[in-house]
Structure formats: structure tokens, C-alpha cells
Amino acid sequence: MKQTATFISTYSADTFGVCSALFELGGMVVMHDPSGCNSTYTTHDEPRWFDMDSQIYISGLTEMDAILGNDQRLIKDITETALLQKPAFICIVASQIPALIGCDLQAAARMVEKNTGIRTFCLPTNSMHYYALGVYLALEAMAKLIIKDYPRSAAATGKHKRINVLGLTPLDFSVNGCDKSICGWLEENGFSVISRWAMGSTLEELQDSHQADVNLVVSYGGLGAARVMEKEWGIPYVVGIPFGGMKKRLLQRLEPSCQEPSSICAYLPSTTTPHDSSLENRVLLIGESVFSCSLAAALEEEYRRPVQVICPVETEEALLRPGDMRATDETELEPLFSDASVLIADPLYRPICPSNVKFIELPHEGFSGRLYRKYIPNLMESFHDLKIDE
């Protein structure tokens, strides 16, 4: 039966994706929720919580407030706290019950903005989607917010091409330096990184994004912001992560798009045929779409073996390669795993991996949280340690 998870974990939720994406930007995120969301997010999904202050709170919704539609308490609590703590912006997200009762968070956001003078918005989360959508919504909203105030700059004239990196969160990249490695690689190749959405950049740096010539989208979560910037500022984007052989491909795509705007997905094959599901020695890779497809493309090039991606969280078909697929539920995944010879996945998938299938652990913070954090490799630096043939 679908939606059952007898043995495996669940992915981080949309609300937590929002918090993760906005964490470093000096804003306030309020999860409209009774209890538990905040400790879950800050325990399992937020490695920055101990060292870096961020205004992430829950509203403490009660049954009576929910039934009586008492949104005034939410508005009052946010207003009072915001006036004291002076966040750069306020984002309100709903968990399941506010979504169920149709809580008008847009109205609440307008009231808070009126009361505080601080830009306030809400996002259509409900705790019933996964983090990838939350990251997408949050970064897209930030892009829309910033675009209101900042016009497009003149085209690049200097030696260094200017670039934004979109879609960085610990939920996909952990805190193992992968984000820095990506930016370091860009700089080594003549790019000047204007902003990192949203690990390692301030809101002010994000506000400089209009100066970029191209955007690099490193997760589905960054795609919404990329589209906004393309539409409003005319900045093209390239999707992909420079793992292994993807480095060369990405550079090829990034170069022309700096001069001739056309947004593309760098890991999409230009000549290869779709995966044949009957292929023997098939390698399965399960994870976020852009991360996994980039890694799969790099592995295929390295090992000359087909690597099929299964994306269990939100994405778009356009971000998947021919033959890749979307599946989330344990009962859908099990038969797929049975047909593979190698499975690359988070360790919490191991219980449903058949014993005759080689299991390669690739911990993913969005799935197993902090449990295997210390084992999450920075694949920008250690791609060649991921050996599927041995």
C-alpha cells in the first residue's frame, strides 16, 4: 500500500525547507504550528542552529485558536517579537492544521507588515510536502522580494564573469564544505561569485544578485529564483553541480550562456539514449534531482555504466534525464531496487535493499537528518572515492 513506510525514514518537510533556505538572511520565519516543528527542524535538519543565531520560531497554535479562528494572537505575537528583534523580513509558513482550517496567512502577513513596517510574506506550505518544495518557494519569494528594489545591472565588462549560485541548503549539501568547494571551483575558473542562495551569503549579498551574468542552479530549490531572475533581470541559468566530469560540461555550458542567454540543464545528455530498464549492471541512485542527476552523469562518464536516478522529493520532469524517475513510497521503491545491481542511497534505505544488490551509502541530510552527518562526503573533493565497480 502506498504511503506506508514500514522500514524507512521520511524526507524533511516543506516548512523546514523554507527555514533552511532563509536561515542566514537575517529574517524571521514563523511556523504556524502547535509544537514540535521547531525542535524537529533545529534538532535534525539544521546543523547551523548551535553556532548561528537565526529567528526561527513557532506560534504555539492551540486547539481553541484553531477552532475559533483566533488569528489575532498570531499577529500580536509576531508583531511584538518583530518590533523587539527587528528582523530584515518576516516569513510565515503554515503546518498542517492551519492549512486544514484555511487560515488566511496572507491577511495575517499584511497585518503584521502594517503593524511593524517590516516586509512580511507567507508561503503555501502545509507540512505535507517535502523540503525541496519549501526551498523552492522560499528562494523564489526572496528573488521576487529583492527584484522589487533592484534593477538589472549593465552587462559584464570585466575579466571575471559574475555568477550567483542558487539552491544551496544544508539539507542537500550538509555543512561539509561542498558549498564552498562549488564556489571555489567557480572562482578558479574565472567566475566572480556574487551571491550564494542561501549558504554563506548575507541578504545584502543576495541583493547584489542582479549584477550577475549567469546563475548556477544546484538544486530544484534554486530553480524558482532562477526563473524569476531570468524573467525580470534577463539572467540565464545553468542547472548542475560540478562533480567529476560534470565540471567540464558545466564550464562549457556556463561560458556560452554568459554571452548568449539560454537557460539549460548541463547534465542532460545530448546524444545518449534513454536508460534501458532491462540493462544489466544497472546502478540506481536515489536523491534530490539536480544533485543526483549531476552525480549520475559524472558516474556514467567515469564508469561507462548506466546510472538511473530516482527522485523521491519534488522536482520537475525537465530536471530529470530520460529514464530517470520519481518515486517516494517504500512499496514503489522496493521492486525498483530489486532490479538493480548497485544502489547508491542514504543508509536509512538499507533495510529495503535486497541482499544481492550492492549498497553504497551516500547519506543525505534531507532524509536521515544529522544521524550520518559526519559521513556525508564533500563530493566536489572526493568524487573519486565513490567507487561503484569494486
Binding site: 494572537r73 505575537d77 507540512s127 536509512l348
Partner: protein, 440 residues
Amino acid sequence: MLQKIHGQPSRAVVKLRDASCPAPFPHTLEYSSPARGTWNIVHTGMLLPESHQIYICAAGCLRGVVLTAAEMGAMHRFSALEFREKDMVNTDNETFIIEGITTILHRLPKLPRAVLVFTACVHHFLGCNLRYVYDTLHRRFPKVEFAECIMDPIRQTQGITPEERERREIYRLLKKAPLDEKSINTIGSNLPLDKDCDLMKLLASFGFSLHDLTGCQSYEEFQAMAKSRLNLYWNPFTHLAAKDLKERLGQEFLYLPQCYDSESILRQLRQIATTLSIPLPDFQAKQQAASDALREAQEILGATPIAIDLSFTFRPFNLARVLCQYGFRVVQVFSDVVSREDEEDFRWLQEHHGDIDLIATKNADMRLFNRASREKLLALGQKAAYFNDTPYFVNLIEGGGLWGFHGLCRLTRLMVEAFHTPKDMRSLIQQKGLGGPCCL
């Protein structure tokens, strides 16, 4: 970027003399500190041997409980049914739960003896017919017991909390049995009682056998708790379970709130002796030993400031009072509420030590709390340690299984040890469910 704002929080700190009772702080947005040692409903449920837990809720709610199980290394005892958006309108949720649990139980390598089923807030709001659900499950799985738990924090301020309900439902699995005059339970605690404590020794000396869920290795051993004549408890989430056991099984109960003052300890020992119709031994030597231990510890700690938090004990004000009476310099109590049991001690402290800072732990302003310690501070509890950024702390939760005069002696030893030996606060406090299994 908002890096470490060191502003004085305005709403989260109040001098004890100015604090109101039982709710010293106004409601506002809530913050979650990185101290994670307290137990949640997953940890407590795992105490039941040969049981399995199934949660039916949205991804956001599932996330915390599934990863609790994973961090305990207990994923083989945990399953979930994920409630999705379409299930709010297009799903017969009774059927969804029944068929989902059926699928899960059929997929397990072996049927568990008991299943703790956790429905959620959403089922309450949707008016899900849980009676029908459980009746059907009982018919389908006659050899499996179902504990009807609910993870519904939305109702916890006005109704039964998930922790209270879970305890009641676990002990509801006990089947009526003839009562054994020489058998006694301690119920509701997450942590085992110190084997050398006054209570254990008293009961053992009169030939009573003591049973506790924390020590049960099998479901049969758990069921043996049904034979006990008396339930003792100090965890305040256990009232409902105790009353239910009295009604169903005829087991008497004694609520023995945690306490650190001699008078209360002696009163509780007398209560136990009277209930069991046994003579009360002379505890004067033990009382003196505890008093001496407190004095000696005070001499060592001198004027070292001490902070106590509500995760360390259910009675932070009682502990603060005792420490103050022995000359310790208590400067902070971290507690969002004042419990009924603690009110008298709270009032005493207001009158005699009104300068103590009463500090909230969940108030949003705690995000801005200045954690930089100005002098060496001893913290009793993880939250007090975190908020003071001190490596000198006693790492216990919920009283740590300490009890009576012997418990006081151990506590003082732990305080002195913590005063002399710094700990890795950062890593210790971030582990969930202190005292339980942890794979981190």
C-alpha cells in the same frame, strides 16, 4: 547575517520576586534551544518490550519521530503512514489507517506483541472514527494489543498531553490479574530508579519485589506488573495512568513528587510505610549523611553561581530552595511554568531569595540571550548549561533516577565532580533521550 546578537532579552527574564505564578511569562512565539536530552513519546514507547510503534501523520510531524527512532537504532520497531494533502479531502481515513497498519504488520518479519498507534491532530479535526479503526484492527489481529496513543500537541494546553495519554495507554495493556501483596510497581518514569536509593532498600528489606517498565526485558515481564498491589510514581505525566490502573486493576497508587528537602523525603517514606503497613526504619543517619554531603559540597563550591533548569528535575524550585538553605548561591532558575507541587517553594524563594533570575526557556527572546558567562558557573541541567555556555554542568534529566537521602548524597557528589571537571557541553546536550540508546 544575524550572528550572535548579544542583547538583553526583555520578556524572558524576570526577578523571582516579581514573577507571577503559575505562568510567569506571557505567551509569545516559541524558541527551541539545542538542549535535547529530554525524552519524547518515541523514547518512552520504546521502553515497552516486543512492541512496535506506528505513526500516522504528515511529513513534518513524522520527521521528528522517525529520526528519534533512527537515532536510537530502533527503526526496526518503528513504522509510519504518511498523511498527504489529498488525504484531507479525498481519503476515507479510517480505511487508510486500517489498511496501512495491516500492510505494515504483514510486512514485519514477526508480529509484535503490542503496537503503539499514534494518530495525530488532523484525525481529531477530521472527526476520524478511531473506535471503528481499533475495533477492526482488534478483529484482524487478535494476537496483537493496540495502544491507542495520539500525537496531538494542539490539544496539550487544554486537554491531555501526548505524554500523559501514552503512559495511560501503555499501562492499559496490562491485563487484570490477582494482586500480589508483595509486589510493587514504579510507573511513568523514563529512567530507572537508582538501585541503592532509600526507596529500593526499604522495599527490599521488607521482601517486596519492585517492578518498573524501564527494567522489563519481555512483554511477559511487563504483564507481570498487573499483579502489583501498589503503583508509585513521581513523573507528573503519570496521573492519568495511575488513576486508570486503580479503576481497572484495583492497584492503589501513591504520587511522590520529586523532593530534595529532608522533611518531604521523610514524609514520603512515612507515606509508603503506612500504605504498606510496615514500620518505618530510622533514617536519621541517612538524613545526617545527606545534610553533611550538602554542607561539604557547599564548602567546595563556595560562592560559585548555580543555575537550575526544569529539564533537570520536575521540582526546580524545591531544589533551588534546598540549595539556598544550605548556602549555595543559586542565581538562575530556568522554568517556563511553576508547577502546583513547586508553588510553595517558589513562594518561599520569592520571599527569601527574590534576586534569583527566573528565566524562560521557550520564549522567543531567549534566542537573543547573552550566553557569555562572566564567571565560572555550575549548571544543573542541559538548558542551564547551554544558556550559560558552561562546560561545568551536571548532565541529568528528570531527576536522573535519584531518590531520597541517598539521591541527595549522589547529587552533591555529581555537583562537585561537575564543578571540578568540565564536560563537552556542545556534544552532550544535543543527544536526544539522555539515558537511552543513541547512535550519534
